[in-house]
Symmetry: C2
Subunit: 226 residues, 2 copies
DNA sequence: TCAATGCTTCGATTAGCATCGAAGCATGAA
DNA sequence: TTCATGCTTCGATGCTAATCGAAGCATTGA
């Protein structure tokens, strides 16, 4: 009928609540099995299989067989980026699936956004780096300054190595809970991994929440409060 | 059921072909009446009314009454940006609604992308500016250099004025037909408006295509060929 | 006041799609 | 071989959502 890319197909994929739940679950960046995703979406495994087939055919997911398990993951960072864009827009327009509980609280504080830290603590990093002139934000491009380079190195992050990757070093990512920017890009990922390494934080198994230890949070605040 | 923003609602809106067509038609940035959108989507006015009501309720469209007409427009640039993201992803994955005709040809050459120029000619601008060092592209942030500032000024664009706006001056935008970047942001808009002003180009009434006059295209090529 | 236009609401129809039970098919373990 | 697990395919079902004809409202113009 019409020319151009078929956005309705992608929209349709995301438009089903079961599929949307599975996609959001995969935003953690980890690959999940079909049954884990079924559970996450609250549907039977037959139905999940049906949906996963569609999502794979649409190119949004990739699948890796391992033994009798099938692991699914987002087909690339661009899919993750699309989902974050959607979440940002949905949040801004107040389309929230309302449920506020303790877990929600933890999510608001610190959670995984594809491969970097989001939530209040993610925003804190961003604000602190900006405040001290370690990064410079020009609308939607961000640069690491020389002092920021030094700071990151001292914290144990090998920027030279990251720069060689194709991924952008710094990106800003709109946070749907805080409605402010937080740090994405390979530097964002590197910070999060360093937090794990230093045992400041760990993943919660059942959700995207990131749990900081008391000591870890203290050190985090020492480093990033403005 | 789950926490977080409701991306399924937005996905669902975009997931219906009729609605997707209407949204794409509004990517031109112009406000259109309900019947124009019905025609664009190939449905009756009753059905269009039904869909437009949903899109408005979802916050994706805004409506302005004028006499007995109702003009609809995208509720903001963020919606346009979401649609472009979707188009980029869809194109990269080969989900194209195939139809190639003369009009399609014109669209591929030059068309409106929300408020700036896309298609081959849009890509030409981007490449030329980059080649001559007028802009610098670092992954997904773009800077205008001093020489680029001078160049734009000489072409009749008041950069100082644009910089004062909240919109980013330069943004790259993935082109679904050329599959390369073209220039977005307020500078992209300014270039397009200048082309209109100089009578190098005009909008086609029925589509998003932009038609250059013979002379306009010649001057364009003189200015932007690499 | 009457007619025309643009749009919405109502009602009925239809089709497509998500869902799940049951069965089938691999893989791995005993 | 036999059993258990993880996943898919098949078939049937039920429901929702898109669609359009017809009628109803509002605005404009004569």
């Amino acid at each position: 009928m019409k020319e151009g890319p078929d956005i309705a197909l992608l929209g349709n994929m995301i438009g089903d609540p079961a599929r949307a739940n599975m996609l959001l679950a995969l935003m953690s960046g980890k690959a999940l099995t079909a049954s884990e995703l079924a559970c996450e979406a609250g549907i039977t495994s037959q139905t999940a299989s049906f949906h996963l087939g569609k999502l794979e055919a649409a190119g949004m997911l990739v699948c890796r067989k391992q033994g009798r398990h099938r692991y699914f993951a987002l087909s690339g960072p661009d899919v993750g980026h699309l989902l974050e864009t959607l979440m940002g827009l949905a949040a801004r327009q107040g389309h929230l699936r309302t449920r506020t509980g303790p877990r929600d609280e933890a999510m608001r504080k610190a959670r995984i956004c594809y491969n970097h830290l989001a939530g209040d603590m993610g925003v804190m990093i961003y604000d602190a780096l900006l405040e001290r002139g370690f990064i410079e934000d020009d609308s939607d491009r961000i640069d690491l300054t020389d002092t920021g380079y030094a700071f990151s190195g001292k914290f144990g992050i090998d920027i030279a190595h990251l720069s060689r990757q194709r991924r952008p070093l710094c990106r800003s990512c709109l946070d749907w809970s805080a409605r402010k920017s937080h740090l994405a890009g390979s530097l964002g990922t590197a910070f999060l991994e360093r937090f794990y390494e230093l045992r400041w934080a760990r993943r919660e198994k059942t959700s995207r929440a990131v749990i900081f230890s008391a000591e870890g949070e203290q050190r985090f605040r020492d480093l990033f409060s403005v």
